[in-house]
């Protein structure tokens, strides 16, 4: 198999990896916001359940969680899991990453001076206006470096989808390497992840720069 054929047959895998990446961000970023609100709830029951949820998400391997999400419906409810591969992956990743994002958001929110809320209240802003206009923009600036770290980890974590035999980048690399007895697919995969993270770092740095106008 020539290098270009190899690259071509791995192209589909790259697209699938990108799909996992973008869908996870799409769901996990807002979901994390919801988890953060529950985590900060005034109700101790809700707060503690959310705490346990976050502890489980962060304290068990994502690989195991993916297996649970995929095979769980079958073993627990005898449901058919045909065609459920990608949804299980996206759910597993999103739910897992939302826990990490929730903790990042929480750190960001708690770093904002209480005086900001009081000033907004005196000026007559509603609770929603205060959050979206005053607090959130400042939180985003604070958390950006931590979010960047998490997003870079996600790029690499997409390879865990191989657990559910989803033919993304890493699974294909393994298959082709085995059938061709060649090491090249792994190098291609490595370069792919590296470039993807280079792009992520570049984009995030631009956003950080754009928010550099105040501190």
């Amino acid at each position: 198999m020539s290098f270009s054929t190899m690259l071509a047959s791995m192209g589909m895998g790259m697209l699938r990896s990108c799909l996992i990446f973008f869908l996870t961000l799409l769901f996990a970023l807002p979901l994390g916001m919801g988890v953060m609100f529950l985590r900060r709830s005034g109700n101790p029951v809700i707060r503690n359940i959310t705490k346990i949820y976050i502890a489980i998400m962060r304290g068990t391997p994502l690989m195991l969680q993916l297996l649970m999400w995929y095979f769980g419906p079958y073993y627990l409810f005898g449901m058919s899991i045909r065609g459920y591969r990608l949804p299980a992956i996206i759910i597993g990743f999103s739910v897992n990453y939302s826990a990490y994002f929730a903790e990042i958001y929480r750190g960001g929110i708690e770093s904002i001076d209480h005086g900001q809320y009081e000033a907004a209240e005196i000026l007559g802003y509603t609770k929603a206006q205060t959050f979206f206009k005053i607090i959130l923009p400042q939180v985003i600036k604070v958390i950006l470096p931590s979010v960047t770290n998490e997003v870079i980890t996600l790029v690499k974590d997409t390879s865990l989808a191989f657990t559910l035999a989803y033919n993304e980048m890493f699974s294909l690399a393994k298959q082709i390497a085995a059938s061709q007895t060649s090491f090249t697919p792994f190098i291609i995969a490595g370069v792919f992840y590296f470039i993807a993270n280079y792009v992520v770092a570049f984009v995030m740095e631009r956003i950080e720069k754009a928010l550099d106008y105040y501190h």
Binding site: D113, G115, Q116, E118, A119, E121, I122, L123, G124, Y125, Q129, K133, I134, P137, Q138, K141, Y213, Y214, H215
Partner: protein, 252 residues
């Protein structure tokens, strides 16, 4: 009467911080509140501006009741809509400014009138620029708070409060977070507002300022108003031993 507070009581847990405080502010008055640290001055302002809820007592703005206390001794606030409407009567300037760091100076001043009061942007901009001129900051409209000195920040905070056209403006130690050489520029602005007959309540440790600017001085200690009256009477020759002691300590 712009503000009337009657028999205000406020506790934090077991700590009784305000014990039966009553006072009022008439239109055009400048009332200074002085007193030792921990006497409850900030708490009084925070209760007046609804940042803290009182345990008992009565608060009225422009003869509109915001809180009353029934025979059962429980303070009852009016409904949210009415309270929001009453909140428009006052503004508050904080010790540490609390400007919005992600907004420019101009946006800090303009945003509430536009977002909260839904007033036309162009009209608000013209007024905001006028306020900045008054504060001597017309060249800093596009600057961000982090680029300003403390004195400039506080003047922006005052302009931000004035942009909502409050009937009464509260100040909680407006110069305490400033380097000594910067207090003058802020006090000058407050003095100028006093000359324009802006109704103000100022908690301050700047005794010469309080004496020069106030129409009335309130001396608080341990959650009660020990004495109030004409600044010359209080600062000049108070008959109250506790006040005398406080002012004496202050001169040292």
């Amino acid at each position: 009467m712009i503000l009337e507070m009657n028999s205000i009581q406020k506790s934090f847990g077991d700590l009784e911080v305000l014990k039966d405080i009553s006072f009022h502010v008439d239109e055009g008055e400048v009332v200074s509140i002085i007193g030792p640290s921990g006497s409850g001055k900030s708490t009084l302002l925070r209760c007046a501006t609804f940042l803290e809820t009182i345990n008992a007592g009565e608060i009225k703005y422009m003869d509109q009741t915001a809180v009353t206390t029934g025979d059962d001794g429980v303070a009852r606030y009016v409904g949210r809509n009415e309270l929001n409407q009453i909140k428009r009567y006052f503004g508050l300037v904080f010790q540490n400014f609390n400007l919005f760091p992600h907004y420019s100076v101009l946006k800090n001043i303009m945003d509430a009138p536009v977002t909260v009061q839904k007033r036309p942007v162009e009209e608000v901009r013209a007024e905001a620029m006028e306020l900045l001129r008054k504060m001597g900051l017309e060249t800093r409209a596009e600057a961000y708070p982090c680029q300003l000195s403390g004195g400039q920040k506080q003047r922006v905070a005052i302009a931000r409060a004035l942009a909502l056209k409050p009937n009464i403006l509260f100040f909680d130690e407006p110069t305490s977070a400033l380097d000594p050489e910067l207090t003058g520029e802020v006090l000058k602005v407050i003095r100028q507002l006093a000359e324009e007959k802006m109704t103000m309540v100022v908690v301050t440790h700047e005794m010469p300022f309080a004496r020069a600017v106030s129409s009335r001085v309130i001396f608080m200690d341990q959650g009660v108003i020990v004495e109030q009256g004409d600044p010359e009477a209080v600062f000049g020759d108070t008959q109250v031993e506790r006040t005398r002691q406080f002012l004496r300590n202050y001169q040292r």
